[in-house]
């Protein structure tokens, strides 16, 4: 009996509802692109190209959620058919963001065993962004929570949370790039909005 009570006590946190209220944010996992983020609603998924500042174009997928006060985006650029290395990719992304405004903070960040960068950027348009840049399995990951003008303070807290939510699920490591998109049951193929060309980070 005592053992049963102990087991029940240990199992309770695993079974109980884990939120004090209905969860406004959810995890969105895209196994095909090898990442998970938290968002307040499902993003729109668009296929296109990503260009480095040197003009190298590679296939990319963009996940975007636009709200009145903030735009959340994840760009996954596939460099598997190039010789791009991590340091060059990270430096180029920082340079591209720097061209769109003033970088206030640029620090090295670790997610599990991967190392990348996190930035805060005050855009020329008056926006305020929290950005994460990683290069994993020959894919460049750019996440940006862009709190919009004229009052970026309204969305700034959400940008912080989005920035800190990026994960690289370990189960994807063996898949490698180019396996297509797994919509995780959350986004739909109908969300694909044609072909776009991204002139660097948006």
């Amino acid at each position: 009996m005592r053992a049963l009570i102990l087991l029940a006590a240990l199992a309770a946190p695993l079974l109980a509802p884990l939120s004090a209220a209905a969860q406004a944010w959810q995890h969105y996992t895209y196994a095909g692109d090898g990442f998970t983020v938290q968002l307040p609603a499902a993003p729109t998924v668009t296929k296109g190209q990503f260009k480095t500042t040197a003009g190298v174009a590679v296939p990319a997928t963009t996940y975007t959620l636009a709200q009145p006060d903030i735009v959340f985006s994840v760009i996954v650029a596939d460099f598997s058919k190039t010789a791009m290395d991590r340091e060059t990719a990270l430096a180029d992304a920082v340079k591209a963001y720097g061209a769109t405004g003033q970088i206030k903070i640029d620090v090295e960040e670790r997610i599990d065993r991967e190392h990348g960068r996190q930035l805060t950027l005050v855009g020329k348009d008056g926006s305020r962004s929290n950005i994460t840049i990683f290069f994993v399995n020959q894919r460049l990951y750019l996440t940006q929570g862009k709190a919009l003008p004229p009052e970026p303070a309204v969305g700034a807290g959400k940008a912080v949370r989005f920035q800190q939510s990026l994960q690289f699920p370990r189960g994807d490591r063996s898949q490698g790039p180019g396996r297509g998109i797994d919509f995780g049951g959350l986004a739909r193929p109908g969300d694909l909005n044609g072909q776009g060309v991204f002139g660097g980070p948006i």
Binding site: A3, L6, L7, L10, A11, P13, L14, A16, P17, L18, S19, A20, A21, Q23, A24, W25, H27, K104, I105, V107, E108, E109, R110, I111, D112, Q118, T120, R128, N130, A153, V154, A156, G157, K158, A159, V160, R161, Q163, Q164, Q167
Partner: protein, 124 residues
């Protein structure tokens, strides 16, 4: 086969301890050399993996309520520090100690919370 109870308990506890053994990320954007106090009203509290989130509405210098995102420990760490999913509820007025964002934005790493009943709970 009959497994001994300590082995069963250890196996059950492993998922709760995993987050503490290897944190999901390095907290580089938080200024861990600095601790600030913010007072506000709980909007939402989510005790989720790999880290929980406390969404707090904080009144700024201009009298406007701003949403702050405060990152907490994972569910295992938080349970070990005495937290439950219902420890704070929407509408609760609390005082939070945080390591703020380096650039001074509306967020931080939660250090501790003083609850409406006067009790203080650590986060990490």
């Amino acid at each position: 086969m009959k497994l001994p109870l300590p082995m069963i308990l250890a196996a059950l506890a492993l998922p709760l301890l995993g987050g503490a053994a290897w944190a999901h990320h390095s907290y580089a954007m938080f200024d861990r050399g600095k601790t600030d106090t913010v007072v506000g009203t709980v909007k939402n509290f989510e005790l989720i993996n790999p880290h929980g989130w406390l969404q707090l509405m904080v009144r700024d210098d201009q009298g406007k309520d701003r949403e702050w995102s405060l990152e907490t420990g994972g569910p295992g760490q938080m349970a070990g520090a005495g937290w439950k999913p219902t420890t704070v509820k929407p509408g609760d007025k609390i005082t939070a100690q945080i390591h703020p964002m380096r650039e001074g934005s509306y967020g931080g790493q939660l250090v501790s919370v003083k609850l409406p009943n006067g009790q203080t709970l650590e986060s990490h």
